[in-house]
């Protein structure tokens, strides 16, 4: 009986593990991780959205990013949370679960904002929501300091693919 329980747990452990490796990453990161994401070599269109659980207009547009992630395999969507790092477990994780977000999520743990905002885009004032969309192959970047309208993301991605 004991062996059987171990076997069950092992199966459960491995099946969980394989599921995780192919799906969502949720983590607290430093700015270097965001830089890597912006500069990585990838055939996919990189869609990076800056948001926070306290930001009402951000929350309104999150479903558009989730849908883009679900419907377009040629796009890599990452939601960069600007919530405070010590609120990751208390606010960000429950929010992600409640809203069934399955995109990659990084909480950027660096509140010395002036040190990195211009590195994301020189035109960014720091207001959120904001979105950076990159075609790594052509090197073309588009930055939006505004709320996205429904359907707008798809058009931008399509334009960037041309």
């Amino acid at each position: 009986m004991k062996k059987f329980i171990i076997l069950i747990s092992l199966v459960a452990f491995f099946s969980c593990d394989s599921k995780n490796s192919s799906s969502q990453e949720i983590e607290v990161v430093k700015f270097e991780a965001l830089e890597q994401l912006m500069n990585q070599d990838s055939d996919k269109i990189e869609v990076i959205n800056f948001w926070a659980t306290w930001c009402k207009p951000c929350i309104v547009e999150l479903p558009y990013f989730q849908r883009l992630h679900e419907q377009n395999d040629n796009v890599n969507v990452t939601l960069i949370s600007l919530d405070f790092a010590d609120e990751f477990d208390k606010k960000v994780i429950p929010f992600v679960e409640e809203n069934e977000l399955t995109t990659d999520i990084m909480l950027l743990d660096n509140i010395d904002y002036n040190s990195w905002i211009s590195k994301v885009d020189p035109s960014w004032s720091g207001a959120i929501p904001a979105t950076l969309i990159i075609n790594h192959k052509t090197g073309v970047r588009k930055f939006f300091e505004k709320e996205m309208e429904e359907g707008e993301l798809e058009g931008i991605v399509e334009d960037l693919n041309d």
């Binding site: 010395d112 002036n114 004032s125 720091g126 207001a127 959120i128």
Partner: protein, 203 residues
């Protein structure tokens, strides 16, 4: 010359009509005076207090979590610098239809709760916000009075570099800037950026 003037004027009007945001003021620019309604019903402008050396102008509101985090620090700035000639003027830039928590009544409530020692003005037409080019809250403009009705923008940006914890901030941008102005010295950091809430523009 007349043609140039007309052209310039129509460009300005075009921007105003289409609701496009102008680029706003930059460090070194002459500040634009305003007449805005204070929470006590009076009208406040840069000329209301004659004896000042300048102003710490803060675009801030009730509803933005970052504004709330900085409320005590804005009060502290006023308490430290008003007597030295640089009082705070706070301007609430959001459209109350879009952000009901920032209505005039709610501004009055918040100011009373926190006993704001400075004017808290509402920019109903959002023209002052547009003219200055404030993009997020809280957004600070330090104005240095050169002569009567002539103020120069000396600094634009954040209050310090730690929104979460004032004690942990290692750079106090606004204090350093005002201290340097008072000493007649050059300001080392004249503009900074910070994460903040967007301005809620009316239709």
């Amino acid at each position: 010359m007349q043609i140039l003037k007309t052209l310039l004027l129509s460009t300005v009007m075009l921007f105003t009509l289409t609701g496009e945001r102008l680029d706003g003021l930059e460090v070194g620019d002459k500040a634009v005076n305003f007449n805005l309604k204070n929470i006590d019903g009076s009208t406040v402008s840069l000329s209301t207090t004659k004896s000042v050396k300048g102003y710490i102008l803060v675009f801030t509101c009730n509803t933005c979590p970052y504004s709330v985090l900085y409320e005590d620090r804005i009060i502290a700035l006023h308490e430290k610098y008003a007597d030295l000639g640089f009082p705070v003027i706070a301007i609430q830039p959001n459209d109350p239809q879009k952000s009901p928590g920032d209505s005039f009544t709610n501004m009055q409530k918040r100011a009373e709760e926190k006993a704001f020692p400075f004017p808290y003005l509402i920019d109903e037409a959002q023209e002052v916000t547009r003219t200055y080019g404030a993009t997020n809250t809280p957004h600070v403009y330090i104005l240095n009075k050169l002569s009567d009705d002539n103020y120069r923008v000396e600094y634009i940006g954040a209050i310090d570099n730690n929104s979460r914890n004032p004690q942990a901030a290692s750079k106090h941008y606004v204090e350093e800037a005002v201290d340097n102005i008072l000493l007649g010295k050059q300001i080392s950091i004249t503009s900074t950026k910070a994460i903040g809430c967007t301005i809620k523009w009316g239709n």
